[in-house]
């Protein structure tokens, strides 16, 4: 049977518009991604089932690297920076470190503080790129006798004394050994700081466990 040959029209859709939409959405997400400041101190945190998001305002963070070095950093907003300046000035006068205002402001801009008090002047004179976790020796807290972290926490507590208490975060590497952790805890305890939080990666609650059943039943965890 002869069939009239149906003229085949090509159905190619012009994809230009779709491409524009795709790239618009892409730019939106790229611009709204908050990139964490590149970690000068590389720390791999362990994971936990804790569900509370780590705060990033009003925060004082102690990082422990896997070699056991402790570093102190503060939040990024203006309030936290002002407190950081108070803390450094406080320690400057109480320990007579002899830091000039230029050095103090350089330290305030630094991503973290990681030297003994005697070397603080040297850290102030370093460029920001040179301040890495590998280069700096960390705040000494290796043994109970020379725990300088206690002094830092004391200055932190007095700087935040008037307003809301700071969130104290502890960010430790998976392979950091227990003694450093214990000494940092001692520094907290000596300053009457008994509540603090440890930064972890989130994981799901394992199925079948008591916590899982609690979550399923809608019971809010006791301490949140």
């Amino acid at each position: 049977m002869s069939r009239p040959k149906i003229a085949r029209k090509s159905t190619s859709i012009d994809m230009t518009a779709m491409c524009d939409v795709a790239f618009l959405l892409l730019s939106f997400f790229i611009l709204t991604t908050k990139f964490k400041p590149s970690e000068a101190v590389p720390v791999n945190t362990p994971s936990s089932v804790a569900s509370k998001i780590a705060p990033d305002k009003n925060v004082v963070m102690v990082s422990i690297t896997k070699e056991g070095k402790a570093f102190l950093s503060f939040g990024d907003d203006a309030d936290d920076k002002a407190r950081k300046q108070d803390i450094i000035n406080d320690l400057n006068s109480s320990k007579s470190l002899g830091l000039t205002p230029a050095e103090v402001s350089n330290l305030v801009k630094a991503p973290f503080l990681g030297v003994a008090f005697s070397q603080l002047k040297q850290q102030a004179n370093l460029q920001t790129e040179q301040m890495t976790g590998a280069a700096l020796p960390g705040i000494p807290c290796q043994d109970t006798a020379h725990n300088e972290m206690t002094e830092w926490i004391r200055a932190v507590m007095s700087a935040y004394a008037g307003g809301s208490p700071p969130n104290i975060l502890l960010k430790g590497d998976n392979d950091a050994k227990y003694p450093t952790f214990k000494n940092v805890l001692t520094a907290f305890k000596r300053n009457d700081q008994f509540h603090f939080q440890m930064v972890t990666n989130p994981v799901n609650v394992p199925m079948g466990t008591a916590l899982y059943q609690q979550n399923m039943a809608g019971v809010k965890p006791a301490e949140e």
């Binding site: 994809m15 997400f29 950091a176 930064v199």
Partner: protein, 188 residues
């Protein structure tokens, strides 16, 4: 697929020095580019929401508070952390001949905690975590996480005793470091 329409130029003789006379119309199909764009979008969607680290709370008891909390030995479980993710535990008090000193790992310890929890009352159940100097931060956090997973209400993080340290070292096969304070234990 991209296609080049070269049909319109047939018939011309190509000689050396002749400029390209025929116009080539190129039609590029943009479908793969759109696929790529959406792939990148989904990547950024997922990475923005999942990059928030969570915080695990830890409350420590006040050390200067000398009133010791009374823990019933029957409800007490002590967990010791050694090096290389070794876990040891014993129930109640450590027997002089270390007969109740058992070893485990992170997977089995959960079953232990669950069985101990089921066999004691809620008020009596207490877990003591004692990390040794060789244990890592990850071990400690994992053990604290186990407390949360199994909804253990009362637990404490304390320093390890020398006796226990020696037991761990013996079990792990390390030469026992002689300790001046405690008398030398006869090797098992």
């Amino acid at each position: 697929m991209a296609e080049m329409d070269t049909s319109g130029g047939g018939g011309h003789k190509k000689g050396p020095g002749v400029k390209k006379g025929k116009k080539l119309s190129t039609r590029v199909d943009l479908t793969p580019m759109v696929d790529l764009g959406f792939l990148l979008i989904t990547f950024f969607i997922f990475t923005t929401t999942m990059s928030q680290p969570t915080a695990m709370k830890l409350n420590m008891p006040d050390d200067r508070d000398t009133t010791k909390t009374n823990i019933k030995q029957s409800g007490a479980l002590t967990i010791l952390l050694g090096k290389d993710d070794n876990v040891f535990y014993y129930e109640g008090e450590l027997a002089p001949d270390a007969s109740n000193f058992k070893s485990s790992n992170f997977k089995d310890i959960r079953n232990e905690i669950i069985s101990k929890k089921q066999s004691t009352n809620d008020v009596d159940f207490f877990v003591t975590i004692k990390p040794s100097n060789e244990s890592t931060y990850k071990d400690v956090v994992d053990m604290l996480d186990e407390m949360t997973i199994n909804v253990v209400k009362r637990y404490a993080l304390v320093d390890i005793a020398d006796v226990e340290m020696q037991l761990i070292q013996r079990t792990e096969g390390e030469p026992v470091t002689p300790d001046a304070a405690t008398p030398a234990k006869p090797s098992k």
